[in-house]
């Protein structure tokens, strides 16, 4: 069996808080094989974004990763030297953020930034780098790329800026891209354009992709596997068909039912009562307990990860019936 491209195990990230350390990520484990797309789904406060940052070592101090292991192509990233991480970032692992202005410097032209990126990792002449940048812009569907290289980020529309960010991420043909809600702020038609581009590029280059989102619909269409996060933990992890057709965790079922389109028009939607706990006030035991219809005595203990058939996993003492 081939080594997975990315193997995260027991990842814990903490932030110091007024009443002690707050665990934004509380024991997350997943694997990503080469060329596969994983959808990391969760609502706000679930820790999905912080998971993405933790993998790349981008967690701002005073927050830090306190436990676990992140193996990229067999190499341990946690505890790696900043220099090694820098050489990997942008080169073999790239990240795309929700706000493209997190990647793009507003006072430099797009061309300057992309050339800088190329030259940071490879010994290429600036002219050759510029050609590469131009090709990358063309690949993501930006018209007249040669002229657009000399434009500033603010001269692009939101969707175009995100494409530039994606093009920048692709410059070194990374093995892994981590995308944190990159299309959430965009219109539906533009979102579809970008999803189409990303899909095509991943298929062409065999890049692994982790797509972090709160939108199950997008993830359904894009991903091969889905991991559902709640309160800092992955509560369910399986192939996309398994998760959406036969969810085992009540939260997953609740999320699916809460989406309009699942139920009849005009009928009340199934709602999950209450709201997600904030990272500062996590409960003992299963974090979903106050909102779960199936909670019982056992749920006062924290559920461990159960390994089901065909590699699917869930964390629940009272999982939904297989076939429910």
């Amino acid at each position: 069996m081939m080594t997975p491209l990315l193997s995260v195990s027991g990842l814990v990230t903490e932030f110091p808080g007024r009443d002690g350390a707050v665990r934004a990520v509380d024991g997350v484990s997943f694997d990503l094989a080469r060329g596969r797309i994983l959808g990391l789904v969760g609502e706000s406060g679930s820790g999905k974004s912080v998971t993405g940052f933790s993998v790349l070592g981008l967690v701002d101090a005073p927050g830090r990763v306190v436990a676990g292991s992140v193996r990229f192509d067999g190499e341990e990233l946690l505890g790696a030297s900043p220099r090694r991480l820098r050489s990997l970032r942008g080169n073999r692992i790239a990240m795309v953020f929700q706000d493209p202005m997190m990647t793009l410097n507003p006072v430099l032209t797009v061309g300057t930034q992309m050339v800088e990126t190329v030259c940071a990792h490879r010994r290429v002449s600036r002219r050759a780098a510029r050609v590469e940048a131009r090709d990358a812009l063309g690949k993501v569907g930006i018209p007249s790329p040669e002229e657009r290289l000399d434009a500033y980020p603010h001269e692009f529309s939101g969707g175009m800026r995100q494409r530039v960010a994606i093009a920048t991420a692709l410059l070194h043909a990374p093995d892994l891209i981590i995308a944190d809600e990159p299309t959430t702020a965009l219109d539906v038609t533009i979102q579809s354009q970008i999803l189409g581009e990303v899909q095509r590029l991943c298929a062409e280059t065999g890049t692994g992709l982790i797509w972090i989102s709160h939108d199950l619909g997008v993830v359904a269409g894009l991903a091969d596997d889905i991991a559902v996060m709640y309160a800092g933990r992955i509560v369910e992890r399986a192939g996309v068909d398994d998760v959406l057709d036969v969810p085992r965790h009540p939260y997953t079922r609740g999320l699916i039912n809460a989406i309009p389109g699942a139920g009849e028009r005009g009928r009340p939607l199934h709602q999950i009562r209450g709201s997600a706990p904030s990272p500062t006030s996590r409960l003992v035991g299963c974090a979903f307990r106050p909102r779960c219809d199936r909670a019982g005595e056992a749920c006062l203990e924290e559920p461990g990860e159960v390994l089901g058939p065909e590699g699917r996993r869930w964390r629940c003492f009272h999982p939904l019936e297989a076939g429910a």
Binding site: D60, G90, S275, A276, T280
Partner: protein, 318 residues
């Protein structure tokens, strides 16, 4: 790679909040007064400065009680005791801790009363300027268009001239007097408040709760003063503090130049001016001690004001 470090944690320590349950730690200590107190106590420099301010204000308030001698009481002053150095004993056996001036007045008493005058003029001018500037700033932000342009161009004009120069010109034209000095200072300082409040108000006007207030049919006056003003307080507090210090210093300058307060109400500036004439003769205490007191006052207020600016920084405030 121009990967700017992502700022999902912003200036706060936690990742984006899920919205929190009711009663989380966000509820604690969130009143502005509470935050200010906590913030000042957290900084040793600001704590000391705040103590100094409190001490000086207390001294000024208690001047009639604390001063060994009433410097305005002509019967208490003895010309024979004039120009005595600090810690000397006077004609009737009283000890002058900080010496006496050319008229025989006890320096300590004169300084206490001078502090009282300086502070009251500075505070009055500051508060009046705050009131005028805030009102005009709010009106400018709300009305927009020509009124906004008119007010803001006036503000630009006022801020373009040096403070002392304008105050000088006003006092030369209208003559001396305590209230004239205060009004001159107000005339110069309102512009700072107006500009700051207009900026803060414009930000707030863009927010949905103001639009909701309009939708609910609330009157403009109510929206301005009951909704907008409370949310524009942070810059007001900071600028107010620093402007009070500025007013005190400006009044001292004017008095030093002889066109400020009348001699019957000596402020620290006037004391410095009086002592200045004999400074080169070696009688340093008449000028230097009031000068140090003025310095301490203005400096302490400015340090507190700076700390307030950090505490009330909107980027760090949820």
């Amino acid at each position: 790679m121009t990967h700017q470090e992502p700022a999902p944690t912003g200036g706060a320590v936690l990742p984006p909040d899920a919205g929190g349950e009711v009663g989380t730690s966000a509820a604690r200590g969130d009143s502005m007064a509470g935050r200010i107190a906590a913030g000042i106590l957290a900084s040793p420099k600001a704590s000391i400065a705040a103590l100094v301010c409190v001490f000086l204000i207390g001294a000024a308030l208690g001047a009639p009680v604390l001063a060994p001698q009433d410097p305005y009481d002509l019967t208490a002053i003895d010309i024979f005791d004039s120009r005595l150095p600090p810690m000397s004993v006077g004609y009737e056996g009283q000890r002058y801790v900080l010496g006496t001036d050319t008229q025989g007045r006890d320096m300590l008493s004169a300084m206490l009363y001078g502090l009282r005058t300086s502070l009251s003029v500075g505070l009055t001018a500051g508060l009046l300027a705050l009131a005028v500037g805030t009102a005009l700033g709010l009106v400018a932000a709300w009305a927009g268009g020509r009124i906004d342009a008119l007010i803001m161009r006036t503000v630009d004009l006022m801020l373009g001239f040096p403070t002392i120069l304008v105050a000088l010109m006003i006092l030369v034209v209208f003559g001396q007097g305590t209230w004239k000095v205060i009004l001159a200072l107000v005339f110069v300082q309102w512009a700072y408040f107006a500009r700051a409040v207009r900026g803060a108000a414009l930000v707030e006007i863009g927010k949905d709760y103001v639009e909701a207030a309009r939708c609910l049919g609330l009157s403009s006056g109510r929206i301005l003063f009951a909704h907008l003003l409370p949310n524009c307080l942070p810059p007001l507090i900071v600028i107010g503090t620093i402007q009070v210090a500025s007013a005190i210093a400006a009044e001292a300058t004017l008095s030093f130049l002889g066109i400020g307060l009348p001699i019957t109400e000596p402020s620290l500036g006037l004391l410095i001016a009086n002592g200045y004439q004999v400074l080169l003769a070696g009688l340093y205490w008449m000028s230097v001690y009031p000068g140090l007191l003025l310095l301490a006052l203005v400096f302490a207020i400015n340090v507190v004001g700076d700390r307030l600016r950090e505490i009330l920084n909107p980027r760090l405030v949820r």
